[in-house]
Symmetry: C2
């Protein structure tokens, strides 16, 4: 990759602050055709991103923040017309934060998602949504698309690429694919390769969405979206995202409003329904399958070999109560060449601690950048 030579076309900005350069405003870049790891070409790919701060003359003060499965480019800031949710890592970016005015911070919506970057709900060349025609993609494909964005922005190298969960997968792939352009990787609550256990939890989620009659094989955009299937998938996922301790102490056997439903059932139903209002089921499946395929060692001699020649400074952090991306998986990352000692964050909340314990994440980022 030559990060300064590849042309990109800036598409017409859309949204509240589009084109004004205001912090947190979504912007769009058309990067043209993308040749995928599978050999398939995805045509007319558009990247939607936000940025904060200014790139320096050397183009080397950039930081890339990678969002998780149902996250987006809106790392910090209030909700708005472009942003159904407030920032998911508040306190990370801005004056007094770890990513302050010294940095040019970029966050792109992921390839395959549904927040402005090309995904299954985007129009295919025939003008109709891809739906079931959207190809399988990998984390490496997602990183390749982001590299085109970095090139367009004139970034020569990143001070850090960081992310949690699925975002940590992209951060790790950045470090392996573009070692000369990434000085630090900060990988939070993630793994070098999806485990059998993680793939197992995903299996019932994918099956639930496929079972929803509204799914229609993925071509549902002219009709009702498969909200029930997506809700069941989210309920399964959400349970894996929280700790048993939290579910037992926060809800236990309490009933919702003294009715027949248990409070924890109502809680999961709420989260399942809520996701359907802001997320596309096809994106959920495409991204889940990309996570299943995630393996930094694929075609490279295996995970251990890749970690032994890892070039950027790697900081791995885990949540002590995480039962989905277990501390052992972070400890494996911390065996990488030159890696910082494993950082163990404390949270009662399980995997979601990587979002909830924002102050601890900020300390991890501050420490990694020091």
């Amino acid at each position: 990759m030559t990060l300064t030579s590849r042309p990109g076309t800036t598409a017409e900005p859309v949204g509240s602050g589009g084109g004004t350069g205001l912090p947190g405003a979504r912007r769009y870049l058309d990067i043209g055709d993308l040749s995928l790891e599978s050999g398939v070409t995805l045509s007319g790919v558009r990247i939607c991103y936000e940025s904060w701060g200014q790139l320096n003359e050397r183009g080397d003060n950039a930081v890339l923040v990678e969002h998780a499965l149902t996250g987006d480019s809106h790392v910090v800031g209030p909700p708005g017309p472009d942003h159904p949710t407030p920032g998911w890592w508040e306190g990370l970016i801005g004056l007094g934060s770890p990513l302050d005015e010294r940095y040019f911070v970029v966050a792109a919506n992921v390839l395959g998602g549904c927040r402005g970057t090309t995904g299954p709900s985007s129009p295919a060349p025939d003008g109709q949504p891809y739906g079931s025609r959207f190809p399988a993609i990998t984390v490496r494909d997602q990183v390749k698309a982001e590299a085109a964005l970095a090139e367009h922005l004139g970034i020569s190298s990143f001070a850090a690429v960081l992310g949690g969960s699925m975002g940590g997968m992209r951060a790790l792939e950045w470090g392996v694919t573009y070692p000369a352009q990434v000085r630090r990787v900060i990988a939070v609550a993630t793994t070098a390769a999806a485990s059998g256990d993680q793939i197992a939890w995903a299996a019932s989620q994918l099956a639930a969405i496929r079972m929803d009659p509204d799914f229609a094989g993925g071509d549902y955009y002219a009709g009702r979206p498969p909200l029930r299937g997506l809700s069941v998938a989210r309920q399964i996922a959400h349970t894996t995202y929280r700790s048993g301790y939290e579910l037992n102490t926060r809800f236990g056997r309490a009933r919702q409003d003294d009715g027949p439903q248990f409070a924890v059932e109502s809680y999961l139903d709420h989260h399942g329904t809520k996701l359907g209002r802001r997320f596309d089921a096809n994106s959920y499946m495409v991204l889940t399958e990309a996570m299943n395929a995630h393996d930094i060692g694929r075609g490279r001699g295996g995970v251990e070999a890749v970690l032994q020649r890892f070039s950027p400074r790697l900081t791995a952090a885990v949540v002590d109560s995480d039962r989905l991306y277990t501390p052992a998986e972070g400890a494996r990352l911390a065996t990488a060449r030159g890696a910082a000692p494993l950082v163990t964050m404390h949270s009662d909340h399980g995997h979601d601690g990587f979002l909830i314990e924002a102050a601890q994440v900020a300390a991890v980022v501050r420490g990694a950048l020091a």
Copy 2:
């Protein structure tokens, strides 16, 4: 309860050894109307059971073995016309086994199930299957039905009531409800009350079955059964039944027959589909909801108070890698008055270790009966 006074009507025996008294042959008992904990009366209740050995003259050498969610009365023995599966605790009953000729061993199919005892697929008084009309039942209702069977059989007291998982719930309820008739309770991989975490795992399973269009609100017996919903539910459950360690080491990232599907996905799909061939979705839901409602302390001053006045000798056993019914829940049971020290079994298989590690279970039973 007066175990010797209540009349029961023995229904016409059905099955390979019915009426012959041969070991393991299914027999039926009509216990009439059953007044449920909810106040609802379930009419014309039939219990299907198997027994091994002979009741002594005092009627006090009986042992009741309680099966788990998708188990049945066929504790030991080969599959046959009555038994879709081989015995699930082979080695527990018979000469040289912990439950040998000294004991009269009884195993009943659970109320609400689908293996011969009245459940949602049974005919209601109008001759049509109950379906959605089947009432909510509790573990206490299940135990009450079994008490009618014990009475009919002339059992004055049980040397032990034992079971694992959902079967352990019934064993515990037996010990609380009929303290004078139960000398020992052996509770394996189970809990005093369903936890918030267990209810959470059940929530997505119930939602998956309800979402299947073939479910038809529970009244599907004239059409296709909701096999896809039941399969998704089983896939979720099966993942909770196994340990992450096992799924990671046994399957990891291996592909099935070098195809696109992961081996662990194929494994879960196989187990989901297989259950549909032998189990009724309405029973799955009714029994799951009974487990959710399980709480030996309900209406009795709470779990701790009940444990402090527990009368039978309680032996609690856990599987060290069980992530669904955690060792902590067994340790809580072992605080019961006069309880034996907690027995921790070792298995890499997680919750299902309570079935897989039959030799360790046999040792637990032998020890408890010594």
